[in-house]
Amino acid sequence: MTLTDDVTLALLLAGCGFYLAGTVGLLRFPDVFCRLHALTKADNLGLFLVCSGLAVHSGEARVVSLLLLIWLVGLLAATVSAHLIARHAHQHLATSPEDSNEQR
């Protein structure tokens, strides 16, 4: 185990932790907005940590830039879809847990 391996492992584990937190939030929070909040924030950070872990592991400039691109596209997709879902929920749905549960 070299230092890079250690750093990679730490970053990946941290990333998985955020994903786990996001998923728990998705399952446990009461309504759409809380869920989106948990999901997007935690998952974006999780993706960033996983990507940077892999970047440290590879160290090649090409791979690193590809990973950066993946993170950016992931961010963009998450942002826009969270925005659309939130807007739809805001306009059309009551925010009680049962209703949002139905729509998921």
């Binding site: 963009l76 826009v80 659309l84 807007r87």
Partner: protein
């Protein structure tokens, strides 16, 4: 060990998702499970050493099949407040025994095929040894275009036939279906499209070009391109029309027609049918096929015969 765990996780996921897809409470959930099943299948292909299939499965199997199912679901819910009638599963006492029996049969067949002592396949060996002579690094592209070209040609014909048959049974509303009702405009969508559409086109072209020496090719590229089209339809930038304009018609047929015509030309010189006259022909046909595949899939999604500029376009 870790890899074995990963495989185990994928396999358990596949089975669970498949079961959920056919038996979950609501149809909508079923669709979602099926899409995730497709994505997990892509992981499985990557694990058994088939990256081309992984890409195809992710783009076509999960992505576009899922989109088509969602849009069909939407047509079923159209004009009703409740979710579409989803009759209770048939009570069949035979279902479980038959399912277990056929699963066992397939398992026995599969395992004995896997562990039977066979020579490496002649056809595969021939492909790998012939491959030295042409400048195509990806044996799968070589098989699809050079050695088993007729399969690929007819496969593009199958896709076209599915489209024509779907058009033939389309209802009177054919064209202006609800799939084309765009979401209300928001600046976020514009920003997304401005970034994602060029990027998707770039990825499609990359996949097409990469197909000759590494995983990728016309089908994967076409499916990714179709994804961009689906996004444009959903955001109301383009919309379906009942009848296609000349440009769309040309695009729809480009792959099949160019493959047939280029395949017929060698006959004039006394060469065999489908003996492609050089690698340029491979690239030309692949590009045309990618366009046709993308347009056919987009039209199938839109549920129309043609495309026009949409409400938000």
């Amino acid at each position: 060990m870790t890899l074995f765990l990963l495989d185990g996780l994928i396999v358990v996921g596949l089975v669970t998702l498949a079961y959920q897809a056919v038996s979950s409470r609501s149809l909508f959930r079923g669709i979602i499970h099926f899409v995730v099943f497709g994505l997990t299948m892509a992981l499985a292909w990557a694990r058994v050493g088939a990256p081309d299939l992984a890409m195809a499965e992710a783009a076509i199997g999960a992505g576009l099949t899922g989109a088509l199912m969602l849009v069909a679901y939407r047509r079923l819910v159209e004009g009703r407040s409740d979710s579409p009638a989803d009759p209770a599963p048939a009570q069949s006492r035979l279902a479980l025994p038959i399912a277990i029996g056929s699963g066992l049969l397939v398992g026995v067949i599969g395992l004995s095929a896997l562990f039977s002592e066979v020579e490496p396949a002649q056809a595969g060996q021939a492909v790998l040894s012939e491959l030295q002579q042409v400048d195509l690094g990806n044996p799968i592209t070589a098989v699809l275009l050079l050695y088993r070209g007729l399969d690929t040609l007819l496969e593009v014909a199958v896709l076209l036939t599915a489209f024509l048959a779907a058009r033939a049974v389309a209802g009177a509303d054919g064209g202006e279906g609800s799939a084309t009702t765009p979401a209300p405009e928001t600046p976020m969508v514009g920003a997304l499209l401005a970034v994602v559409i060029p990027l998707t086109v770039l990825v499609a072209i990359h996949l097409l070009r990469a197909g000759s020496y590494e995983p990728g090719g016309a089908f994967q590229g076409g499916a990714v391109l179709a994804g961009a089209g689906v996004l444009l339809i959903l955001s109301g930038r383009i919309a379906a029309t009942p009848v296609a304009g000349p440009l769309i018609r040309m695009g729809l047929l480009a792959g099949l027609v160019s493959f047939m015509l280029i395949g017929l030309v060698p006959l004039l010189k006394g060469s065999p049918l489908l003996a492609l006259p050089g690698l340029w022909a491979v690239y030309f046909i692949e590009t045309a096929m990618m366009l046709s595949i993308a347009i056919t899939l987009i039209l199938l999604f839109a549920g129309g015969g043609g495309l026009k500029r949409g409400r938000n376009g």
